[in-house]
Symmetry: C2
Subunit: 458 residues, 2 copies
């Protein structure tokens, strides 16, 4: 609860851009996760870095938590106000500030979504490739170190954020990075804030790397008899040094959901969707090599989608897979979880997960960005059925523990939020103490997105 003084001070800063209205609080108290939490005490809608800095000073003065909010699409409750506090909704900071086409850079505000950014770039020959599926904001994507289908070729947000403007807990404003492609001048603060989930600072501006729109695109769909054959094909593709722009695995259950939801007629069997970007001479060779690898791994069918409309339909279906899977069990909610493992352990990780889910009695289609060892399970549960929810959570925990045993990570791209807090000690051991020391150094009062990333913090 905000004190009257605190609220009055906040209104002095934001006028009618602070809200305590029930529907606004409710909107900012929801998430894609199953977890429910209390509502924030207020929501503010800043329009500049200076306003965010003033807000942080207010937060420090009144000892009120502050939580950043982009599009609300995070999956682990990243933006929920666990301890009350004020949510900072960046919807009014959603502009392209400067396009520097010659340097393949763009400066944006944090509230712009990836689709809006790419729409603005559409006539420039450039694109921002990182694509987590949801139409997330760039600020949120940086804060969660998002990646997605194209990371196998273009990298994650770690690789595509060149610099940031960050507001610290005490209202200081810092710039990280430069316009140069690389630097060895001091600590890599950009990388520290990317993936910090709003616990170290609020991102109010981003300089992003852009990439050329591909000259040509080749897409293929390969059908396999077994999950392991499909996964082994991915492993061989990566080990042979091919560089697909995307290489996505869909298990039979996912394929069935996509067929029903998006009107496709893919064979009901494990599939790989593969895409190559490049000039056409290189693409033909890439596709030929992939064809050989797929066939030698027992692909039963390999079709290339040569027409742009066919490609679009396939990738739209892939993007809709989460909704398709949800729709396949009306009324269900999903425990969505991801892990990432070394590519050599991918087959074992997927197969053991597949078997674990099959034995659990609940449905959980598996799909993922397997080119970098990253896959997801969408565990479908009746949210009113405590047994199902517990089963799904136990499955997700075992999936993360399995990933750790295989040398991987508890989350490749979804982040920690508070959904995976309990798994952090197993992954990081003593390094978690270093993370806590960094947190304390930058946010000694523990006001920035409290209760996230680091277990045992206030």
């Amino acid at each position: 609860m905000l004190t009257d003084t605190a609220l009055a001070d906040l209104r002095a800063l934001f006028g009618d851009r602070v809200s305590v209205a029930g529907p606004v609080l409710a909107e900012h108290g929801q998430s894609e996760s199953l977890v429910t939490a209390g509502l924030p005490d207020a929501v503010v809608f800043p329009s500049s870095t200076d306003e965010v800095a003033a807000f942080a000073r207010w937060s420090t003065q009144h000892r009120v938590p502050l939580i950043g909010w982009g599009a609300g699409t995070s999956l682990k409750g990243h933006a929920l106000a666990l301890h009350g506090g004020v949510v900072v909704d960046f919807r009014h900071m959603a502009s392209v500030i400067e396009l520097r086409a010659e340097d393949r850079l763009v400066r944006v505000q944090p509230g712009i979504t990836r689709e809006a950014l790419n729409h603005e770039l559409r006539t420039t020959g450039l694109m921002f490739p990182v694509d987590p599926g949801a139409n997330a904001t760039l600020g949120g994507m940086a804060a969660t170190r998002a990646s997605g289908t194209t990371a196998v070729r273009y990298g994650t947000m770690r690789d595509n954020v060149r610099g940031l403007t960050v507001v610290l807990a005490d209202g200081r404003v810092i710039q990280t990075g430069t316009g140069a492609p690389k630097s060895s001048a001091g600590y890599d603060l950009t990388a520290l804030f990317v993936g910090s989930e709003g616990t170290l600072g609020l991102i109010t501006e981003l300089t992003l790397r852009l990439h050329g729109q591909p000259e040509a695109v080749a897409t293929a769909v390969a059908t396999f008899g077994t999950v392991s054959a499909a996964v082994d094909c991915v492993i061989a593709t990566m080990q042979m040094g091919l560089s697909p722009a995307r290489i996505e695995f869909l298990d039979t259950d996912t394929v069935a959901a996509c067929n029903a939801f998006s009107g496709l007629a893919l064979p009901l069997a494990p599939q790989l969707l593969v895409e190559f970007h490049g000039h056409s001479e290189a693409l033909a060779e890439d596709l030929r090599r992939f064809h050989d690898i797929a066939m030698s791994h027992g692909a039963k069918d390999l079709q290339s989608a040569d027409k742009p409309e066919d490609r679009t339909r396939l990738w739209a279906a892939r993007h809709a897979a989460y909704r398709a899977i949800l729709a396949s069990r009306p009324g269900a909610k999903a425990v969505v979880t991801d892990v990432c493992v070394p590519i050599s352990a991918l087959a074992e990780a997927v197969e053991d997960t597949r078997a674990d889910i099959a034995a659990s009695g609940i449905r959980g289609p598996i799909l993922g960005h397997v080119g970098d060892g990253n896959f997801h399970a969408i565990l479908l549960v009746d949210p009113a059925d405590a047994g199902e929810v517990a089963t799904a959570k136990a499955l997700a925990a075992r999936m993360a523990e399995r990933a750790l045993r295989l040398g991987g990570t508890i989350t490749g791209e979804h982040g920690v939020g508070f959904g995976k807090l309990g798994l952090m000690p197993a992954e990081h051991g003593a390094a978690l103490g270093v993370m806590a020391a960094l947190k304390h150094a930058l946010d000694p009062l523990g006001l920035m997105n409290p209760g996230k990333v680091l277990p045992g913090q206030p």
Copy 2:
């Protein structure tokens, strides 16, 4: 000066692997920079992470600075014992621990050099591409966030270190990163330690990304009438989306030195050395496109080096350029400096630097990894001539200030050491306070490589 007790305790830990012999101290009190500093009080030669941890506890107990030492090839005095203390020489920790070819990863100890590592990899089809020129150690390369000729395609150490074992000031040992290609589980500690120049921790193990040895290689040398034509050709090459594995600029003065030192007969004019890696179908197209771009930028001559021995000779000469330039003025020492700018500002940065050097009265060949906006000046001085030394240092400072004005960084790959301490506030502003807070959080006693990276620290 170490107390008798401190030295006795150190000998108890390291036996005859601690040295206070004059020649050993002198060897570890030198650097490639012009700066001279006092000698370390002792040098230790650990053989395991546990020994380094015990050494760090000793350092904390006795309040003695500790300074990591790889191959001694850093250019900004990174490894000099400015305030006395003990140098940790990693020469006995120089092994490959584990090759994981199927994941394209290798675990190494910090003292292995890049040439030794690639020698061990030679029959695997894999390579570690980061190449700063000197045969540096991997630990040193990670600590300084090194890059070099191939960074334009394969990235810098930032991009190629997957995980680390780090000993903290108080002797704690942490692991960063996992074997998975990506993770969003918490703060990116790997990126924090890469480039921290031994001021936050000592790296005792590295997991590195490997890359496939290229199926085919195409090398070309293009000769231009002017510096600006050569640089504009680079800018166009990058903006057109070509992806050279290396694209190096040599000014006429550098070419003359290389011809004399390495027995080449390159035309005395600005040159670009370009290399493409890939499969042969793609390479032919890459080379054709580069040819067109070079010709449209007035290249007077474009020769491809098709024979492996010709390629080797060219790149050996490029690698020897620093020694070649030093040899071109017998008795001279060099102030070696680097900056990195946005590619759009590269022509202006190089030309203004060229003019500034020309007006200064000293010689300073320019060369660099221009594909990522990074270039070097090798400012030749008589070390006994204080005027020349001052002129060179002023030129280097203006070069860095010019890079900042153009949106770049004071150093693309050499690092800060203490040679560029004074320029850090201009680049980082308030962010320098964040770096200092991180330093204090991890090394509250200021014992790790004191006097480096952060101005105003003890």
